[in-house]
């Protein structure tokens, strides 16, 4: 197993707030990695650093051995790192199929866009295939703003997939969706993983994480606290402390 995505000692502060303080993480090729931690522990900031939306103060991000620490979001995506957002982001005023087509030009130079039409028949077919895969193909010609919250989540997943990235970062894929859809999304992730896709998933739904992830990293106050299999992480006392507020140092003193 090789490390596809590697984060080393990343720091980032927003004003006086230290969002990341030396966070490290590695994602093995072909795995489903989970990233958990309490609210405000820096998970989404780490995602933003990896995908180029936020420039870190220090540390490095490497993807397939290539340094992408300071790369722009479009460059990171072109190299093969796709992501979804915690607050689902689609293009509401164009149609669902057009949403898909925005993502299909992964390796195209920008000037090419001027001389070619919106889509080729292969791209259209691929887009429809992925829409069908997530189960919203019948909504293809609808304006994307008309989709429900759950459908938007599926569309966001589909248009990241259509560009065929090597690793996909999912920010709370199960957040705010019903149980049936959660299971559906879990099934999709598993079947994609079987076809060789690598995932890094931020999620608060423990059941979801423990069920589908091969490896889990717990973040707390901007650093990676523990990494291991779901089983190891579940039984780690530090993790329980981080999540439940648990024992402060003072309490420990009193207890001992």
């Amino acid at each position: 197993m090789t490390n596809l995505l590697k984060v080393e000692g990343v720091t980032k502060s927003f004003g006086g707030l230290q969002a990341l303080s030396g966070c490290s993480l590695s994602v093995e090729k072909g795995s489903i990695a989970g990233l958990i931690g309490p609210n405000g522990s820096g998970k989404t900031t780490l995602f933003n650093v990896i995908t180029g939306y936020v420039k870190p103060d220090g540390g490095t991000v490497t993807f397939e051995g290539r340094d992408i620490t300071a790369a722009r979001p479009s460059r990171v995506f072109t190299l093969g790192v796709g992501r979804t957002f915690q607050i689902t982001r689609i293009f509401p005023r164009i149609s669902v199929i057009e949403n898909m087509l925005v993502a299909t030009q992964r390796e195209e130079s920008w000037l090419r866009g001027l001389t070619r039409s919106k889509s080729s028949s292969q791209e259209l077919a691929a887009a429809m295939e992925w829409l069908d895969f997530v189960g919203i193909a019948r909504l293809a010609s609808l304006q994307a703003g008309a989709l429900s919250f759950g459908q938007r989540k599926l569309l966001e997943l589909a248009y990241v997939l259509v560009a065929n990235p090597d690793v996909i970062l999912l920010d709370e894929p199960a957040g705010g969706v019903n149980l049936t859809l959660i299971n559906e999304i879990a099934d999709k992730i598993r079947s994609l993983n079987k076809d060789g896709k690598t995932f890094l998933i931020v999620e608060h739904n423990m059941e979801f994480v423990m069920e589908i992830c091969d490896a889990v990293t717990v973040m707390h106050q901007g650093v990676n606290l523990v990494s291991g299999t779901p089983e190891e992480v579940r039984n780690n006392p530090d993790v329980l402390d981080a999540y439940l507020g648990g024992t402060d140092d003072d309490d420990v003193d009193v207890a001992s």
């Binding site: 995908t51 939306y53 722009r72 979001p73 479009s74 995506f77 072109t78 992501r83 957002f85 982001r89 689609i90 293009f91 509401p92 005023r93 164009i94 149609s95 057009e98 087509l101 925005v102 993502a103 030009q105 992964r106 195209e108 920008w110 000037l111 090419r112 866009g113 001027l114 001389t115 070619r116 039409s117 919106k118 889509s119 609808l142 304006q143 008309a146 248009y159 990241v160 560009a163």
Partner: protein
Amino acid sequence: MSGLMSRLISGLRSHVKQLWWLVALAIFIAYPLIETNPAYTTIGIFTLIFMGCATSWNMFSGYSGYVNLGSAVFYGTGAYTMALLANHLHMAGNGDLFWLVPLGGLVAMIVAIPVGLIALRVRRHTFVVITIAIFFVFQLSAINFSFTGGTSGLQLPFIPWLITDYNLPFYYVGLGIVIFAALLSAAVRRSRFGLQLLAIRDDEDRAAGLGVKVFAVKLTGFAMSAFAVGMGGALYAMFIGQIYPQFVFDPIFDISIALMAIFGGLGTFVGPLLGALVLESTQQLLTLKYSNGSLYLVIFGAVFLVVILFMPNGVIIAVRDGWARRTARREGSVTVGAAVKPGATL
């Protein structure tokens, strides 16, 4: 026999859009031949210039959502390019001056690159304010530099054509600019590039995260939209024969262009064409009939109030939605307004 008829009708129906465009084009071509009064053909020329400029403005600002309130920068640049080159090259007052019209567009496009490099770094309201600020920089430069002739402006070579024929070539060059701008706008809307502009309008950061080189796309669109506006300015300068900084770098132009597009339908293909056609010709007619240069402002104020209150997406979208609802009702369907798609080609 009836089968043949129905096939003929359905065949006609599928081409009905193109048919309407041909009819419209024929009317525009025929207009100055039927209406030979120079006062009215002059109105035609101004209307065409504004139709071309509004369409070209919409090709970037309408599709990308970056509302540029400094498009007079390109208009004025085109006008000054025409005047300065005509004078410095000692050109005679004849049809050769028309060659400077595309050159005016080209210079406007070149000017758009540094302007875009500055203004396109910011978004939304900040972008609007920056474009206005840059506009005033250009106006003040035109007033204060000596090579622009300062406040006394520039005189172009006199064109000694007969008053009865004078307008005709200007009218058809103006029509050419409109056709150019419209074809470019339609081509962009159909291209991958146009889709990227729409994606930037909806969510720029998300577009970047899907591999769209947002800054390059924005700058290219911005510069492309400057071309036809610059041509419009150059044609205006040649037609009027003299230019002043206040009239080619005119804040009213900035706002008019935007309002015409918004009136017709921001981001639609037909909207700016219709908006400019209705608003500019009405304004010119009112000025001609009542020789009152400001009456139109009062009327336009009222019109815009109505449009913004009842048709916030523009006249074209309102008409199309109304049509879709009517058809849906007639067919007994329940999908009222489901097919509403702003930004789609009409």
